[in-house]
């Protein structure tokens, strides 16, 4: 897996931190939850509200990762840069894992940072005691795990789309649809998850994501075999 790390590091260094557009998109998704907290000064906000905002703060940055993963794969195909990679002594799985990891590490770091910022801001806005009661360590840990699972799952599904479409624009359009769908789900999810079993319905969501992830990775493994990719170039 040393090749995968080389590829992942290149993605992080040059395709994320070397691309102002990518940084800007990530910053917007990270700033949104902060804006929600700063604009919501209602003293009546309950534990459900605090939890829902926490869920948004950890998952919104993850949405930017979906677009990033989509573009990294479709751009490789569109620009032909996948050919020199395939011509090097690197296994197919190293390429796929390297690119996924290279996108997931920075976005996941942003998710954690966003949740930490939210926790501090919410404490100052709604009271530290209330926030600590609404977001015990187990819930915070679950939120982080759900964000990681979401990134892995969405990344795998986007990977499949990227293998099937020919252009970056088409890939971005499908990623946009996935993001919109995710926002719609997450908007209602906070309230629902918090009402059912003291918020531990997140475990069910986690299991759902894992199941989806297994299916997605199996399909992705098939469509990203080099023969399939080259046939579509």
């Amino acid at each position: 897996m040393k090749y995968a790390w080389q590829i992942a590091w290149r993605e992080i260094r040059w395709e994320i931190f070397g691309d102002r557009g990518a940084i800007f998109r990530m910053a917007i998704f990270a700033a949104l939850p902060v804006a929600f907290v700063l604009t919501n000064r209602s003293p009546r906000i309950g534990e459900i509200g605090i939890f829902a905002l926490a869920l948004q703060s950890v998952l919104f940055p993850a949405l930017s990762g979906v677009a990033l993963i989509s573009s990294t794969f479709t751009q490789e195909k569109e620009n032909g840069t996948i050919i020199p990679l395939l011509a090097s002594p690197v296994r197919d799985v190293d390429i796929v894992v390297g690119k996924l990891v290279g996108m997931i590490i920075p976005v996941f770091s942003l998710c954690i940072a966003s949740l930490a910022v939210y926790y501090v801001l919410a404490g100052s806005q709604y009271g530290e005691t209330r926030v600590a009661a609404a977001l015990p360590p187990a819930i915070l840990y679950s939120l982080v795990v759900v964000a990681l699972l979401y990134l892995l799952t969405a990344g795998s599904w986007v990977l499949i789309v990227a293998a099937l479409v020919r252009t970056t624009r088409a890939g971005q359009q499908v990623a946009g649809l996935l993001i919109a769908l995710s926002v719609a789900v997450f908007a209602g999810l906070g309230a629902a998850a918090a009402q059912i079993g003291d918020g531990y319905a997140l475990i069910a969501l986690g299991l759902l994501l894992v199941g989806s992830d297994v299916v997605a990775v199996q399909v992705a493994r098939r469509v990203w075999q080099r023969e399939e990719v080259l046939a579509r170039l």
Binding site: Q6, R10, W14, N79, G80, T81, P84, A87, S88, P89
Partner: protein, 284 residues
């Protein structure tokens, strides 16, 4: 050395290569010629270990692409018609990245060597997106040479290059031959092939139609001649047929403006100015 043994390759119902066989020896440039869609790119990708053949095998430097494609990739440098670079990366980082994929011990030194060799030493820290098309193609060649491979596969490397850059590239390819590398040049540019190739393999519809040294192929077949005359073409054809000469083609010559000018001047009584020699051959 490249030994292509009866390789075939199918994409669904399409047969891209059909039992193609040829060899490229060390210190030799072989041009793989053919029209678009003939199977040149598929052949080069199979040799490079990127694609697996449906049938047959390729032995590169003694290693089969079927049994150990990764080892074959370590021995091949592959250049495509498009440079296909990561344009946000500076040249030095780019070459070092590929050097690490090939597990070179000192990637920095190798990047410096290649930049010097290809005249890009002053651009080592410039982003690849700022390079001209010709410079990008040089970078693609540097990438292919980063691990000093014994086999070099060039798929239409001079496409979209200006004549000066194309010539520089040709000279560089010829210099690599002197370093005992086996070079396969896929092209449909006959002039390019004639200039630098030792041997030619012509592929058509996935099959090897002809193989041989450039001089031998040019001399093959019966000699033909071109005549220029004024008059009735059908009478000329009949006359030639009458004395036992086959007329293979008879095409009306469209005069250039220069030729029309000289004709007009000549008819106007301006003498018979010296016309440029338009064609080498046998005058009637």
């Amino acid at each position: 050395m490249i030994d292509v043994r009866e390789i075939s390759r199918r994409f669904g119902n399409t047969l891209a290569l059909d039992h193609a066989s040829f060899r490229v020896e060390p210190g030799e440039i072989v041009a793989l010629l053919g029209p678009n869609g003939a199977g040149k790119t598929t052949a080069s990708r199979i040799i490079a270990g990127i694609l697996a053949p449906s049938d047959g095998d390729v032995i590169v430097d003694g290693i089969s692409v079927r049994t150990d494609p990764n080892a074959v990739r370590r021995r091949c440098g592959f250049v495509t018609d498009q440079p296909a670079l990561y344009e946000r990366m500076p040249l030095r980082e780019y070459l070092e990245f590929f050097g690490r994929l090939y597990e070179l011990p000192d990637t920095g030194r190798r990047a410096n060597e290649l930049a010097l060799l290809l005249g890009l030493a002053d651009r080592l820290d410039a982003r690849l997106g700022t390079f001209s098309r010709g410079m990008k193609q040089k970078v693609a060649i540097a990438r292919a040479l980063v691990h000093d491979p014994p086999v070099l596969l060039l798929d239409e490397p001079a496409t979209a290059l200006d004549p000066e850059m194309a010539r520089t590239l040709r000279d560089f390819i010829v210099s690599l031959r002197a370093r005992h590398r086996a070079i396969l040049l896929c092209t449909h540019d006959l002039d390019e092939a004639q200039r630098i190739a030792d041997r030619v393999v012509i592929v058509y519809k996935g099959r090897v139609a002809r193989e041989g040294r450039v001089g031998d192929l040019r001399a093959a077949g019966r000699d033909t001649y071109v005549a220029t005359f004024a008059g009735d073409p059908e009478r000329a054809r009949a006359a030639l047929n009458g004395v036992g000469i086959d007329v293979l083609s008879l095409t009306q010559e469209v005069r250039s403006l220069e030729e029309a000018y000289f004709a007009v001047v000549s008819e106007a009584g301006g003498g018979s100015p010296v016309q440029p020699d338009r064609r080498k051959g046998v005058d009637a």
